[in-house]
Amino acid sequence: MSSTLLTQVSHLGRRSVVRTLRQPGVMVSAILFPLMFFAITASGLDAATNLPGFPTASYLDFAFAFPLVQASLFGAITAGVDLARDIEGGFFDRLSLTPMRPVALLGGMLAGVMALGLIQGVIFLSIGLAVGVNIQSGFAGMLLLVALTILTALGFGGLGAILALRTGSGEAVESSFPLFFVAIFLSSINLPRDLIESDWFRLIATLNPVSYLVEGIRSLVITGWDPQALILGFGCAFGLIALSLAGAAASLRTRMAT
C-alpha cells in the first residue's frame, strides 16, 4: 500500500471512528444490547450445564463468545449504514472528484470497524472478567480473543460494505440486521454442536461459519489452548475477510462505474 493511500485510509478511518463515537445511541446499542443478551442467556440457560457431556460447569464462561460475536455484527451494520449514508448524501460522489482514491473510503470504513471491534472487545473482556468469566488461556489468550473479535468484525464489516455499495441505502443495510442475527442463532452459540439434538439444526450449525468463529473464541475461555478450534476459528475469520473484501472491492468497482 502506498504511503498516500495509507494516509488517506488513516484520515477516513479516523473520520469513521469519530463519527461512530459521536452517535451515543449507536455506541449504547453496540455495547448494551450484546451485554443484555449475554446476561439473559448466561443466567437463563445456566441449567444446561447439567446436561451430560456439557463442556464446562459455568454457562457464563460458555456464553462469553456471544457478546463478542454479536458486537462484531452491530459494528458491521453501523459501518455499513454510515457508508450507505455517505453514498446517499453525495459524499462518495464528491470524493470521487478529488485525488482521493475511492478504495480509501472502503479502507477507512473497515479501519473504523476494526477500531470499534477493538473498543468493544476490550470493554466486554473487562466486564466479563469483572462478573466472573474465567479465561482458561490466560493473558495471552485474552489478546488472541480480542484479535479474533477484531477479525470477525472485519469480516462482517466487509459484508456490510457490500450491502452499502450494492444498495446505496442506509435503510436497506439496516433491514439486513435480522439476516445476520439469524446466522448467529443458527450456530453453536447456545449449545455445543454434539449436544444439539435436532439433526437438521446440527447440520445447519455445522455448515455455518459463525459456529467456528464462536467455537474459536469459546475454546480460549473454557478449554485453554485448543489448536483445532483456533485453526478453524481463525481460518473462518480469514476466509470471511477474503470473500467479503473481494465482494466489497467488486461492488466498489460497480458503484464507481455507474
Partner: protein, 269 residues
C-alpha cells in the same frame, strides 16, 4: 362513503355511536393497510426465527433434571414465541401510529373524528386482527415443527391470554407513539417489550432459573402469563386465573396511559 369519510358521520361528539363509528373507520383503514403491505408480517418474523432457533437448537435442554414440562420442548418454546408475536403486533401498531403522526394523517384524523377515543379503539381492533394472522402463522410453523397441543378446550385460555397481551402491548405502544409522535418512539416501544419478554423463563421453567434472572422473572408479570399459557397448552393448567388477573390488570392500567398519550396529542394540536 369511504372509511375516513365515515369518521364524522357518527352521532354527537363523545357519544358511543361516534366512538364505534370512528373506531370502525380507523380499524378498517389499518387492516386495509396491513393486508396490502407484506411488511405487516414483520411482527411474525422475529418470533418464528426465535422459535426455530430455540426449539431446534435447544431441544436437548428438556433432558435437564427438573425440567417438568410434559408437552415437549417445541410446545414449551411455542408459547413464548406466540406471546412474542402478539406483543410485537402491539408494538408494530405503535410504530404505525407514530408513522401516521409523522405523515400528518393522524392530525387530520384528530380533526375529523367525532370521538377521538374511537381512534384509540380502532387501532386496538386493527392490532387484534393483525395479531390473529401473525399469531396464526407462528402456530402453523409450530405445528409443522412437531408441536402437539394436548390442552383441548384449555387452549382457549392460551388464546385469551394472547389476546390480552396484544391489547396491553398495543395500548402501551399507542401511548408512547401519541406522546412522541415521531419515529423515535420505536426504540422506546420496542425495548421495554423485548425486555419484559426476555426476563421471563424463556429457555427453562421458572424453577430451574438461578441467579438474578430467577428473582427478576419471579417479579415479571409475563412469567405468570407464560407459565399459565404453557399449562393450557399441555393440558395441565396451573395459575390460569391468576395469569388472567395479571393480564386484565395490565390492560386496565394501560388504558389511562393510552388516553394520556391521546390527550398529549390533542394538546399538541
Amino acid at each position: 362513503m369511504s372509511a375516513i369519510g365515515n369518521l364524522a358521520s357518527g352521532s354527537t361528539r363523545g357519544s358511543f355511536g361516534g366512538l364505534f363509528s370512528v373506531a370502525g373507520a380507523v380499524a378498517w383503514r389499518q387492516v386495509y393497510k396491513f393486508f396490502t403491505n407484506p411488511a405487516f408480517l414483520a411482527p411474525a418474523l422475529f418470533p418464528i426465527f426465535f422459535f426455530i432457533a430455540f426449539a431446534g437448537g435447544l431441544s436437548s435442554v428438556e433432558q435437564v433434571p427438573g425440567f417438568d414440562f410434559t408437552g415437549g420442548y417445541v410446545a414449551f418454546q411455542f408459547v413464548w414465541s406466540l406471546l412474542q408475536a402478539v406483543a410485537l403486533g402491539g408494538a408494530f401498531t405503535g410504530f404505525s401510529i407514530a408513522g401516521d403522526f409523522e405523515s400528518g394523517f393522524a392530525r387530520r384524523l384528530m380533526l375529523a373524528a367525532s370521538n377521538r377515543r374511537g381512534i384509540l379503539l380502532g387501532y386496538v381492533l386493527a392490532s387484534i386482527v393483525r395479531t390473529a394472522v401473525t399469531g396464526g402463522l407462528v402456530t402453523v410453523v409450530a405445528l409443522i415443527g412437531g408441536m402437539r397441543p394436548a390442552g383441548g378446550v384449555d387452549l382457549f385460555g392460551l388464546v385469551g391470554l394472547a389476546l390480552l397481551v396484544n391489547v396491553a402491548a398495543t395500548l402501551f405502544g399507542a401511548g408512547v407513539a401519541m406522546l412522541l409522535r415521531t419515529g423515535e418512539a420505536g426504540p422506546l416501544i420496542r425495548t421495554p417489550i423485548f425486555l419484559i419478554l426476555f426476563i421471563a423463563p424463556v429457555f427453562v421453567p421458572q424453577n430451574l432459573l438461578v441467579g438474578w434472572i430467577s428473582v427478576a422473572s419471579s417479579l415479571n408479570p409475563m412469567t405468570f402469563i407464560l407459565e399459565a399459557g404453557r399449562g393450557f397448552l399441555s393440558g395441565d393448567p396451573t395459575g390460569g386465573a391468576f395469569a388472567f388477573g395479571v393480564a386484565v390488570a395490565a390492560v386496565l392500567l394501560l388504558i389511562p396511559w393510552a388516553l394520556f398519550g391521546l390527550r398529549g396529542a390533542e394538546r399538541a394540536g
